[in-house]
């Protein structure tokens, strides 16, 4: 008997590989419906069940030289985890992993852009016997004030519901 993930055809991303979250200081409307996933290749999605939801907000804030706020953005991630199938024993998958901007204020023509890019392929972060599908998403926020600042967060969503930040 082969390993469960190989039987399932490996773990694949059936969503997007990149999307804009904020463009020219404005939240992109399509970001909330853009997502990536880490699901089994050979198993129809409707055969996966047991999904649970995980989400959290965080802030991207850039403060100016006089304590003035140049960029105030609230970002949010959401993903569904714990997707299971009888065909891949003990494996948990992740889908609908999305990052979007809840609100943003940009002052003084400072300029702000944020995008999300899937970094590499989805993978098994667990073991051969207990696979945990995972997908890494790189979120990059760029600020163009007097000094160009950029900030990146590498968010990896896991099938067991955990999110690691690099």
């Amino acid at each position: 008997m082969g390993d469960p993930i190989s039987i399932a055809g490996g773990i694949v991303n059936l969503g997007k590989t990149a999307w804009d979250i904020v463009k020219d200081g404005k939240a992109t409307s399509g970001a909330q419906t853009s997502f990536c996933s880490a699901v089994p290749a050979n198993i129809p999605f409707n055969e996966l069940s047991g999904w649970k939801n995980q989400s959290k907000e965080w802030e991207w804030n850039i403060s100016g030289g006089f304590g003035n706020d140049l960029v105030e953005a609230t970002l949010k991630y959401n993903f569904q985890y714990a997707g299971i199938t009888d065909k891949v024993k003990n494996a948990v998958f992740v889908t609908n992993f999305s990052v979007w901007c809840v609100k943003i204020e940009v002052a003084f023509l400072a300029g702000a852009n944020i995008n999300a890019t899937v970094k590499g392929d989805p993978y098994n972060a667990g073991s051969k016997d207990k696979p945990i599908a995972a997908i890494p998403l790189l979120v990059t926020a760029a600020f163009n004030g007097s000094n160009a600042l950029s900030r990146t967060w590498l968010l990896t969503a896991h099938g067991d519901g955990s999110l690691s930040v690099g």
Partner: protein
């Protein structure tokens, strides 16, 4: 929020305005810049440019009037550096973890 040196200087300039500058281009540009700074709007750089051009014009107009020239040069020094300081960002983000 920390004190705003340019807003303070603009207020002081208006208050201590010498007669020869009362109808100058500098004072005419101040209210627009103050509004832009307070509102944090996208006209800030245009308003700042307008102030600096006004100061340059008034410097020529006042000629050798030492007091007026000193006030204009003090404001010019502060205003010319303002956007560099004001728009110099510091990252104060939280973590998604």
């Amino acid at each position: 929020m920390a004190a705003d040196p340019l807003l303070d200087a603009l207020g002081k300039f208006k208050k201590d305005l010498p007669d020869e500058l009362k109808k100058g281009k500098t004072v005419a540009s101040i209210s627009g810049l103050e509004k832009s700074i307070n509102d944090q709007d996208d006209k800030y750089k245009d308003q700042l440019d307008k102030l600096l051009k006004g100061i340059a014009a008034d410097k020529k107009a006042v000629g050798k009037d030492k007091d007026a020239l000193q006030q204009l040069e003090a404001l010019e020094k502060l205003a010319s550096k303002d956007s560099d300081v004001r728009l110099k960002g510091e990252d104060k983000s939280t973590s998604p973890a």
